[in-house]
Amino acid sequence: MKAAPFAYVRPADLDDVLDELSGGDGKVLAGGQSLVPVLAMRLGRPATLVDVTAVEELHGYGASAGGLRIGAAVRQRTVERSAEARAVPLLGLALPFVGHRELRSRGTVCGSLAHADPAAELPAVACCVGAKIEVAGPGGRRTLGAREFFVGAMTTAVTPEDVVVAAEFPVAAPGEGFGFAEIARRHGDFALAGVATAVTVAEDGTVTDARLTGFGISDRPAFREVTDLVRAAADADDVERELRGGAAELAAELVDTGGDTHGSTGYRRRLFSVLAARELAKALRRARGSRASGRP
């Protein structure tokens, strides 16, 4: 399990990073927690690894106009520990599920987005809250919405000559509530099915927005707006039970992964529908709590 030989460079400037990536046979290395196993198994043999962790700009982390801005070199554990992350509750709910503590010590938030594993948590969070991802390339910089960023299994709108600069997660406002859950064989394993949810209630208590993103169930995060579904169930005594029918229909529509030894398609549908109903109900409850307290 030794990586094949590669050249290595750790530039100080983003322009130098782009120079090294031009030609398309280089690969960006940030935390390496997804990339290095691929290299160790020799599933990938890039000619050059371009370590971006010496680029000062990519260590930027904190509130910005568009929300919480997380630079490409910022580690998952830094975010997990920080007070700033409270502004994006869904990140706090999802991060403990990302690999293990030992992997989050080195792994980066943006790296998880750029790697785009279909079973990964952070791409689902990004889609659910509508995060924006800033990409630098030979043609300059561009900003992509998370829902157009992920184009397939481990495939994003980032070309081999591009580098992710930062991701911006919108901060939560009063009246918003969130839910997150996944089922994996063991903690830290790839999720068999998982869901991130967000619900917004108005001051009069009506549901104005509800969305959900499933992961581990398709080749990319599966996003749906489900405001009508949640609004219709919102006044029931048992919201979760009321949501189950709709969640099962969503599962039939969204879960299109083939079965494997860990679970058939049908089993994953079942997992997804249960998790979706549960976490939407939880998000609604939290949204109401947030509305009542006036704090996000």
Partner: protein
């Protein structure tokens, strides 16, 4: 949302710590594939610099280049957690980090956590709760649990199984491990004591650092240094210390010239051979040790660093590496005084501090010390004979390594028997008390 609140509590000091964490210096010059890069880092408090290709991961550097074989390798792709070490204070997988990424980083391995004499509280707790059986996962478990308890948000009893799920154990069923971590968490609510065995020390690589990582498929690429021409001064606690006093029948004026003549001195050392005189009191030599099936041949360098003719004291530093992956350094002090107890005799005092790494270190320190002690005893006899007869005994007729091994083994067995007898006596005594 409570989960989030729990996890982001008391972050002020953590943020400060996080921002102080060193970021890697830029390395603007590209390291071509297969070529060596110099990487400097701090390992268990010691500054080290290694020369490795970019694809060599940190765990291989620790094990092969620095002789720190406490960091184990299992899956080598980040799943099993055997190679967990602390990097800048946080637990990380040493197999998922290329050494070049660790430029300027501070690494702590299980060797830095505690010593055999003064174990870290986590090590004591693992021992007390039987948190290990085969021991393969233990270094990873220790470093992971240290990180858990030392870094906020800390752990809760309820979360402990999930928090400790990053390292796999196939023996214990985890119960003893969780009990040990829980114990230390309760005993040290503000975090466990810092690693207790970090400081400047000598790290000797295995077989000159030509590990499998460097030689897997780029033949001819030297990953380690060539045979050195200067001795390095070892620092830190030695693996074993030996002190042997021998009564020689020859007078001191006959004994000391033998020790001053490195050719004769080498002939008196069992298994040693002087290969080349390099000048400046430096000598290249070879030493073979054969202990039953164990056969080691050390190529090395010795240098007389202190020599007081009037006081009959001499200090020699020797270092050697074996092709099979063992390395050793020794600081040897020889001192002779007239023996007051016997007319015209000499007392020869030999003190040695041994620094072992690689396979020889796994040999068990007691045995290594025993072997050295026997060597010095036979050395003293040979010096005495040389002083008496004027000629050094032939290398071939010198003390047999097999005899050394047998004597050392007798010592070891005797010691074990004595300690077993003591344990039995203690158990009997306790049982009687209970009645």
């Amino acid at each position: 949302m409570t989960q989030l609140d729990d996890r982001t509590g008391s972050t002020a000091d953590t943020d400060a710590r996080a921002s102080h964490r060193p970021r890697p210096r830029p390395r603007a010059e590209k390291i071509p594939a297969g070529e060596l890069a110099e990487v400097s880092m701090t390992v268990n408090g010691a500054e080290v610099t290694v020369s490795v290709p970019a694809r060599v991961h940190l765990a291989d550097v620790l094990r092969e280049h620095l002789g720190l074989t406490g960091t184990h390798l299992g899956c080598e792709h980040g799943v099993c957690g055997m190679c967990t070490v602390l990097v800048d204070g946080d637990a990380a997988r040493a197999c998922l980090l290329f050494a070049v990424q660790c430029d300027g980083a501070e690494i702590v391995t299980v060797e830095g956590l505690g010593t055999a004499e003064e174990q870290h509280p986590l090590q004591q707790a693992f021992s007390a709760h039987h948190g290990l059986q085969c021991g393969f996962c233990t270094p990873g478990m220790l470093m992971s649990s240290y990180d858990l308890l030392a870094n906020p948000p800390g752990e809760t009893e309820e979360e402990l199984p999930e928090q400790m799920s990053g390292v796999l154990c196939r023996c214990t069923g985890y119960r003893g491990i969780l009990a040990a971590v829980s114990d230390v968490a309760q005993a040290y609510p503000d975090g466990p004591p810092a690693p207790g065995n970090c400081g400047a020390r000598t790290l000797v690589g295995r077989g000159g650092g030509r590990g499998p990582a460097g030689s897997a498929d780029d033949e001819g690429v030297e990953t380690g240094p060539a045979l050195p021409t200067e001795v390095r001064i070892p620092v830190g606690a030695p693996s074993a210390s030996v002190s042997v006093t021998s009564a020689l029948s020859s007078p001191i004026d006959d004994v000391w010239p033998v020790l001053e003549d490195f050719d004769q001195l080498a002939r008196c050392l069992p298994g040693a051979q002087l290969v080349e005189v390099l000048g400046d009191d430096r000598y290249r030599g070879r030493a073979t040790i054969a202990l039953g099936p164990v056969k080691l041949s050390f190529e090395g360098l010795a240098q007389v660093v202190e020599h007081d003719r009037d006081d009959h004291r001499m200090k020699v530093i020797a270092q050697g590496a074996d092709a099979s992956g063992s390395a050793t350094q020794a600081v040897i002090t020889l001192a002779a005084v007239p023996d007051e107890g016997s007319e015209g005799g000499t007392r020869l005092q030999a003190d040695a501090e041994l620094y072992l790494s690689g396979r020889i270190a796994q040999f068990g320190r007691a045995l290594a010390g025993d072997v050295s002690r026997r060597m010095f005893e036979q050395f003293a006899d040979a010096v005495d004979e040389t002083a008496r007869t004027g000629t050094a005994p032939e290398v071939g007729s010198g003390p047999s390594p097999v005899a050394i091994a047998a004597a050392a083994l007798r010592d070891a067995v005797g010691r074990r028997l004595r300690s077993a007898r003591a344990r039995i006596r203690e158990a009997v005594r306790r049982r009687r008390e209970r009645r």
